[in-house]
Symmetry: C2
């Protein structure tokens, strides 16, 4: 794996007992970023909000800033006054400085720009890391009321492909220095135990995401888990029918996007109909990733819908609708991105036009009462997908307790 080989460490996978070095933060053993930060044991009052006391390496701050820039967040408007400290000079990459904690400095000459750092969550995985990322993401959904815009930002750091105990220990040490918590998915029981013990020694809270569910499944099946990380030899991904089905679904859906080939609607598993900017494309792609062939048909005022749409099995068609106010906001953003001039297509995001177009969609839906109409306002793509798949499977299987079943 790339990440572990970039550490140039010997492979310790066969080590049977967990290896946990003594905490010794004063003498870091490698040239890792831990060299550049103040070394202090994590504060005892870690569980209280204490925004100004966070530690962060210069690299970490640059990454946060780079991310903030990419996401378009405004950097010259500090979101948390108490957390902003001025730095006296520009910081250059790889330069070893101890900056004010709790801020990220702008690299190369923009001394007054800072971003809020937030509390850190270290996510460690021996595989792709998507499971731990997904779980942490879901948990963070429970704290929406206090994340970045409410002054309690969280920084997650994903370390994937960690298959050896030495990089694992480096990460735990770094987490201790940053006052981070550690969340991990490590298939090898001795690695998981090492992570647990090391975090205990360093006084860091840690959570094992994969362990409990793996144990439950093991005892349910009466079979021991393999203990092999995803990328391990012997766990090669087989070219299963499921793999080909997913790829076929993705390719079908891309070709089919935006009503491109209406005569192919018959071949789709799911057909989405809705006006522009109801999220048909990202929704189609999300469903395609799950193995469903999706076609989508745009409803545009004054343009006739393809006849095929009314000839195919109506049980596979789903209408999408949205609040006119939200749709207008989305369309305005879209028009800006596309660089529409004020004249050309100006009505695209005008409220009257938006309402009329939604009304014409409503009439189409009313004429086809078998199509479920899904309200997408305020829903993430994943949520709308979940509603559609629940209905899809329910209609297919006609059961009183809707569920999606899968054979492994």
């Amino acid at each position: 794996m790339f990440a572990s080989s970039s550490f140039n460490l010997p492979n310790l996978r066969s080590k049977p007992t967990p290896f946990v070095p003594e905490p010794n933060p004063k003498t870091p053993r490698s040239s890792s970023i831990s060299l550049h930060v103040n070394v202090e044991p994590p504060s005892k009052s870690e569980s209280e909000p204490q925004a100004g006391k966070l530690k962060g390496s210069p690299q970490l701050k640059r990454w946060s800033r780079a991310r903030a820039i990419r996401s378009g967040r405004k950097l010259d408007r500090p979101s948390h006054e108490s957390q902003v400290a001025e730095v006296s000079r520009p910081v250059h990459p790889r330069e070893s400085t101890n900056e004010e904690p709790g801020t990220a400095t702008a690299g190369d000459g923009e001394a007054r720009l800072e971003v809020n750092m937030g509390k850190s969550i270290y996510m460690v995985s021996d595989g792709t890391g998507w499971t731990v990322e997904h779980s942490v993401n879901a948990a963070l959904g429970q704290f929406e009321h206090c994340l970045v815009d409410r002054g309690c930002p969280v920084n997650t750091h994903l370390f994937s492909g960690i298959e050896d105990v030495e990089p694992l220990m480096e990460i735990v040490k770094q987490a201790a220095k940053e006052g981070a918590i550690v969340v991990y998915t490590l298939a090898d029981p001795s690695m998981a135990e090492s992570a647990k013990q090391a975090c205990k020694l360093w006084g860091i809270p840690s959570t094992d995401i994969l362990g409990p569910i793996t144990e439950a499944v093991a005892s349910h099946l009466g079979v021991s888990p393999s203990g092999l990380p995803r990328g391990a030899p012997g766990r090669n991904f087989p070219l299963s029918e499921d793999y080909f089905r997913r790829i076929e679904a993705i390719e079908f859906t891309i070709k089919q996007d935006d009503g491109a080939l209406p005569h192919n609607l018959t071949k789709a598993d799911i057909v989405l109909a809705g006006v522009s900017r109801t999220g048909k494309t990202p929704l189609s792609i999300y469903l395609a990733q799950k193995g469903y062939k999706v076609a989508n048909v745009p409803i545009v005022k004054g343009i006739e819908l393809p006849k095929t749409l009314f000839r195919i099995d109506p049980e596979k068609v789903f209408g999408l609708t949205i609040s006119p106010v939200v749709l207008q906001a989305i369309r305005k953003a879209r028009a800006k991105t596309l660089g529409f001039s004020e004249q050309a297509r100006s009505n695209y995001s005008e409220m009257d036009y938006v309402r009329e177009e939604l009304e014409s969609a409503r009439r189409v839906f009313a004429q086809n009462p078998v199509w479920p109409v899904i309200e997408v306002t305020g829903k993430a793509i994943e949520e709308t997908a979940s509603v559609i798949l629940r209905l899809y499977h329910d209609r297919k299987h006609r059961c009183s307790m809707p569920r999606i079943s899968k054979l492994y």
Copy 2:
């Protein structure tokens, strides 16, 4: 939410203490599928493999079968002789019959076709269910050595949008009848507690996926979790910059697919280059879902590559390579799907041609040593994506401990 409203039950969300009805399997309260199955307490020796003793409702069997048919699995070749029992007559939808346990019958007249049922895992979520599905999926990765092809199949059943205690109790009851385990993500603590207590009462092993990580984050931030499921009022999905960025990335990537607009390579965050069937398209789409604009450039023997490819920042270009044997197998499957005649494009999957094309790609990669070349043989799309993103962020941030950081 759809699933819970389809139960037509009163909303009990405000109930402060967990509601756990007494187990009384002899008198099911609703017209759910539990009416149609033998009611027996789960066997005591549940943890031992006992393939022949599984219970399943007729619906469940039909779903398994439907899924097996969709996935193209051969049904007339039983994978587990001991689990196959003959059914004497065709089974019709919604018909209430008690069939031989451990088999799924073919509906409507195909009496001799059966599929292996497997042990059940019930996944219960108050939201989309993707977190619990993702986690169970990852855990099942630890049992690849014993899943369907090795005679120890597992059936997962996803119940999403479960926001009320009554459908929750129905599900637990049904799980008890099927000898399933229950894995859940329930944001409302009283719902989670109800699930736990009910499973305990019924003697079903249960695992809370979201609870431990949510608690860890809560104590790290010093903030209480909201306890609100994803679809709850007040948890509306905001139209964040992240949302628009993801959609833009998906739309860019679709338009860019398969080298369609080479002059746009400059705008991409990541550019993938590789011969046909190295997984460029599904990989592009996977990365796009994560918010990266991806372009892909097919390397075809004898066709000149777009000049832009060599002018753009080489640090964002990734080469894909694959074993010729595996590539040939994939291309053969592809050629069959596309219905290539034996004459037309026959060399596409011929070993000599496959080797030559890979060799021409290798030469291109050798001339561009900055491009990392990623071996995709035996890797799932998610794995290759993980490797690419690790390298991408590492190159961007030049740190000694590769990670992907994100601000929430």
